[in-house]
Structures are given as structure tokens and as C-alpha cells.
């Protein structure tokens, strides 16, 4: 049965896409969780929808077949532009930024629905992008996914120490002369690329889950940044590939299955993790340090000892 699945060309493409998304999404998600921007992926996803519709509009205008040939490139462009805008807004100040982000999210959805109507389609055409349609991954889509994943991994893993520094303590990074603004934009762009890569697999509405939930799982079992990223990627690959495998035999949505699976893993790990750490002995972090305060009890003890010595 496994060989049947593995020899199916549709399934081969789908599995490869799921594998790539499973690795890349948690890598980027680790930086987003580190910066407490867990919902950034959602925001970019909304903006990407406008890009999908825009690509569709241009495709129809240029008479391309199929109509949505430019949908994915359109999503890439819109997501990158949107994520850089979000970073600009974030830099200018938090209070107005929150509001501006919200407006951008709603504008993304509304713009998408509006443009797809103008292009002669219906909101229904957007469904495959909102919820994913991994079974319709074409060779061209797959190549784009491979290239974008490679870029995301090269940046996300290759620059991990610099990106960690900026995400961990931005002020210190500034005081070290690091190109903080450029690195922030790099994180934003890489997030945008990840969203568009994952769009075909889990859909724009669930992209963020694939970036964040594996990180949440990893966080329960490790206390190091590097190891969190690695563990999250492993979790990402496992849930993506096994989720997709389930849908090969059962007629359910791949995106939803993958996300539900990830959340199930999170639930199980959060129940089991405390049991694993319970066995470790508690230790005094400063066994060798003297106390700073002179306690009356200690003083009377010393007095008693001195008295004993005198005798």
C-alpha cells in the first residue's frame, strides 16, 4: 500500500511539497515566536490573498491558461510587499502599528475577494488558496516551492546567530552595530516566502499554524533556541508527511488534517513533558554562596559554638 502511494506521481509531488513546508515553516516560526509576533504569518497570509487575486487578474488580462498561472507569483509579490510594510509600521511605533496591521489584514481579504470578482472569478476560486489544495500541485508549483524553500532555509539557518541576536535583544544588536533594520526585513521577507510556500499545502488561513504549533511543541521539551528550531522542524516534517498520508486513504482536507495532527501532538506532549522532567533532582543554584544577611538565628548559633569552644 505504501508503494502504491509512493509511485503515484500526484502523491510524490504532494509529499515533496509537504516535506519542504514541514522543514521550513517551523524554522521561520521560531523567529516569529522569539519576537512575540506569532500572528505575523496570519497577517501576511491575508495580504497574500490579494496577491493571488491580482495574479489571477493579470493572468486573465494576458489571456494565460490556466487563469491562475500567475496566482502563486502574485502571492509571493504581495506577501513580500505586505511583510516589509508591516515591518515599516512596526518600526514606527507600536500603538499605531497594531491598528495599521489590523487594517492591512482586513484589506488583504477584502481586496482579494474584490479583485477575483473583477477577474471574472468568484470567491469560490479562492477556496483552494484559503484551505490548500495539495493534490493539484503542478510541476511548476513544485519547482517554485523547492527554490523558495531553499532560499528560506539558507537564510533562516545560515544567518541564525545574527537573526537570534536581533530577535533576542534588539537594543544590544543595535549597540553592536549590526544592520538591525536589514535583518528585520530579512525575517519579514523570509516569513512572506514561507507563507506562499505553505499556501498550497495547508492554505493561507492555516499557514500560521504550521509555523507556530511545532515551535510550541518543541518549547515544551527543550530550553535552547537552536534545539527548539531543530525539534520544531522535525515535528513539522512528521505532522506534514503523516497528515498527508492519512488523507491519501481518507477523503479529508490535507491542510486541516495536518494542523489538527500538530495540535494533537502539542496536547500529548504538554501532558507527557511534566512527567519526564519530574524525575530530575531539584538543585540549589548557588550552593557555594554565603548568605548576604546576618540572621539572628545564625548569630546565636555562632555564639553557642563560641561558648562551647571556651569551655
Amino acid at each position: 500500500m505504501i508503494t502504491l502511494m509512493l509511485t503515484d506521481p500526484f502523491m510524490q509531488r504532494a509529499l515533496l511539497a509537504a516535506l519542504l513546508v514541514g522543514v521550513t515553516a517551523p524554522v521561520v516560526g521560531t523567529y516569529l515566536v522569539q519576537r512575540k509576533l506569532s500572528l505575523l504569518g496570519d497577517g501576511i497570509g491575508h495580504v497574500a490573498l490579494t496577491g493571488v487575486a491580482l495574479g489571477w487578474l493579470v493572468g486573465v488580462g494576458a489571456g494565460l491558461t490556466p487563469n491562475d498561472a500567475l496566482a502563486v507569483p502574485g502571492a509571493v509579490v504581495a506577501a513580500v510587499v505586505g511583510s516589509v510594510l508591516i515591518e515599516v509600521v512596526r518600526r514606527r511605533g507600536r500603538t499605531s502599528g497594531d491598528l495599521a496591521l489590523a487594517i492591512m489584514f482586513y484589506g488583504g481579504i477584502a481586496g482579494g475577494v474584490l479583485l477575483i470578482g473583477i477577474a471574472g472569478g468568484s470567491a469560490g476560486n479562492l477556496m483552494q488558496y484559503l484551505f490548500g489544495s495539495i493534490s493539484t500541485v503542478s510541476d511548476a508549483d513544485l519547482w517554485l516551492t523547492v527554490v523558495l524553500s531553499a532560499v528560506v532555509l539558507a537564510v533562516g539557518v545560515g544567518l541564525r546567530h545574527a537573526l537570534f541576536s536581533v530577535s533576542h535583544d534588539e537594543e544590544f544588536a543595535v549597540a553592536s552595530g549590526l544592520p538591525v533594520w536589514a535583518l528585520n526585513v530579512v525575517v519579514a521577507v523570509v516569513s512572506a516566502l514561507t507563507v506562499t510556500v505553505a499556501m498550497r499545502v495547508v492554505g493561507l488561513l492555516l499557514v500560521s499554524a504550521l509555523m507556530i504549533v511545532p515551535v510550541a511543541v518543541a518549547q515544551q521539551v527543550t530550553h535552547a533556541f537552536g534545539r527548539t528550531m531543530l525539534t520544531a522542524s522535525v515535528v513539522g516534517v512528521v505532522v506534514c508527511v503523516s497528515g498527508l498520508t492519512i488523507t491519501y486513504w481518507n477523503n479529508v482536507s490535507p491542510g486541516a488534517t495536518i494542523v489538527v495532527l500538530a495540535i494533537a501532538v502539542y496536547a500529548v506532549v504538554s501532558l507527557v513533558a511534566p512527567l519526564l522532567t519530574r524525575g530530575r533532582p531539584a538543585h540549589d543554584p548557588h550552593p557555594d554562596l554565603p548568605d548576604d544577611v546576618d540572621l539572628p538565628a545564625a548569630a546565636s548559633e555562632r555564639a553557642a559554638a563560641a561558648a562551647k569552644e571556651c569551655r
Binding site: T30, V33, Q34, R35, K36, S38, G158, L159, H161, A162, F164, S165, S167, H168, D169, E170, E171, F172, A173, V174, A175, S176, G177, L178, P179, L183, V215, Q219, T222, H223, A224, F225, G226, T228, P285, H286, L289, P290, D292
Partner: protein
């Protein structure tokens, strides 16, 4: 570089900093020369941290100029020679990180975005310097406050700077750790380190400090010998972490007039 000519490693000329309606720095001039250990003193809200943040580029002064190692603060500075220790940082994001990971981030500066060869050994050496050699794998958020402060010092020391800028490095640190910190600083200063340190009181570092600059309401109100603590320092209930100064009372009257007391 001009710092070879002037010997000034830190230079501020007419620095002003405004944040909204408050005018925090009102024309600060400051020079730190090679080999000096300068203490930056002043009451809460006098602008000490703001000044230091302007010197390292975190704050952009609204007026005036700051120079480090002869170059205007920015990409022209040789950041590999500058170490900065922030006041205990609330930084650290949503993911726990180990002491070693945090210290390693100190090895990145300027255009260096990847860790250099042999970084593990350098991180271990920096942790050793602050007495936390066996804590490299521990998550930072589980360390005590004093240990976290020492991690921040190790992060600045790991790049082996010529100039160290510290913002209240020993606030809330127990006496034993303060002594260990002072001993480390003594060793580094003997090796030629230049230090600008924000302090609330001179404490264990008193013997090291060659000059004190006191800020009051965003202006330099004293620049010279370290001021003597106010005379009522031995009043009942006052706790202090420093030995009493000798009877050298050259600054006494002036210091009192300027309210140079160092409150606990």
C-alpha cells in the same frame, strides 16, 4: 584614525535628547580617554542611561554628536572593540535560550553576521571570566537575577573589547558577586581596557574609578575626582555597599552644594 591623535575613545559634544515633551539630555559634553575608568553618576532620571544609549547608537540624539573610537556612532565604528552591558534587560523573547547562546551573540558585530572560528572556546572563556563556566548550557531564564546580569557582562566581554560601556552592572547584585566583578574589572583595566560605567554608588569599583562625571537634570554638574558620599550617609537605617572614604575632603562643600549624594 583620529582617536590615535586625540586619545579620546568616547566623545560627546552638545548632546541633546528629547522624548516627547521631556528634554532628557540638555547639552552633554563628555570625553573618555584611553585607559580611563569613568563613573557616570547621578540621581534617578538624571539621564545616565539615556546618555549611554545615545553613545552606543540605541538612542538617536536630537542634537549634537557622539563619537566612539574616533568615528561618528554608526556603521563607521569598529564595533569589535566596543562592549556594551545594558541595565538588566527585560529582553529575551518567547523562546528560552541558553547562557552560551546569549553570550555567543556578543561575537556578532558590525558586518560580522556569522560566528567566527573557535567561538565555543571564546564563549566558554567569557563565561569563566564571570564565574559561570559551568552554566553555558543552562537556560538563561532559570538563572538568578545576579547570574543573568553576569551573562550580560560575559556577552560584552566575549569580543574582547578595548572599550566597555556598562549601565549599572552591579545594581541588585550581592556583595560577593560585586567583589568578583570588581576583581575581573581590575584585571581587564590593568590590561588596558577603557571603561565608562553608570553607577548608582561607587561601591566595590571605587578603587578603580579614575574620574567621575555626575549628571543632574540632563547636564554635567561635576567632572573630576570621584565625589565623596554625603555626610549623612551614616544615618540610622542607611545601608551601603562601599567602604567609607578617607578624610580627603577637597570636594566636600562643592559636592554637597551640587547634591552629589548617592542614595541607596
Amino acid at each position: 584614525m583620529s582617536d590615535h591623535l586625540t586619545d579620546a575613545v568616547v566623545e560627546a559634544r552638545g548632546l541633546h535628547f528629547r522624548a516627547g515633551a521631556s528634554h532628557i539630555l540638555r547639552g552633554v559634553d563628555l570625553t573618555v580617554r584611553r585607559g580611563e575608568v569613568v563613573a557616570l553618576l547621578g540621581a534617578n532620571g538624571s539621564g545616565k542611561s539615556t546618555l549611554v544609549k545615545s553613545l552606543v547608537g540605541i538612542n538617536t540624539p536630537t542634537q549634537g554628536e557622539a563619537r566612539l573610537l574616533g568615528a561618528a556612532v554608526g556603521s563607521g565604528v569598529d564595533w569589535s572593540r566596543v562592549g556594551y552591558v545594558p541595565q538588566r534587560s527585560g529582553a529575551g523573547g518567547g523562546i528560552p535560550s541558553t547562557a552560551g547562546e546569549v553570550v555567543a551573540s556578543g561575537l556578532l558585530h558590525g558586518r560580522r553576521l556569522r560566528l567566527p572560528r573557535g567561538w565555543r572556546e571564546r564563549v566558554a572563556a567569557a563565561l569563566d571570566q564571570v564565574g559561570l563556566g559551568d552554566r553555558g548550557g543552562d537556560p538563561v531564564h532559570l538563572l538568578s537575577g545576579g547570574q543573568q546580569q553576569r551573562i550580560l557582562i560575559a556577552r560584552a566581554l566575549v569580543r574582547e573589547p578595548d572599550l566597555l560601556i556598562l549601565d549599572e552592572p552591579v545594581a541588585g547584585v550581592d556583595v560577593a558577586s560585586q567583589e568578583a566583578f570588581a576583581a575581573t574589572m581590575r584585571r581587564l583595566v590593568d590590561d588596558g581596557l577603557t571603561v565608562l560605567v553608570v553607577l548608582h554608588e561607587l561601591g566595590e569599583l571605587e578603587a578603580l574609578v579614575t574620574r567621575a562625571v555626575v549628571l543632574g537634570h540632563g547636564k554635567v554638574v561635576h567632572d573630576g575626582a570621584p565625589p565623596r558620599p554625603r555626610d549623612d550617609h551614616d544615618r540610622a537605617g542607611h545601608r551601603h555597599q562601599h567602604p567609607h572614604a578617607d578624610d580627603d575632603n577637597t570636594l566636600g562643600e562643592q559636592a554637597r552644594a551640587l547634591d552629589l549624594e548617592v542614595r541607596p
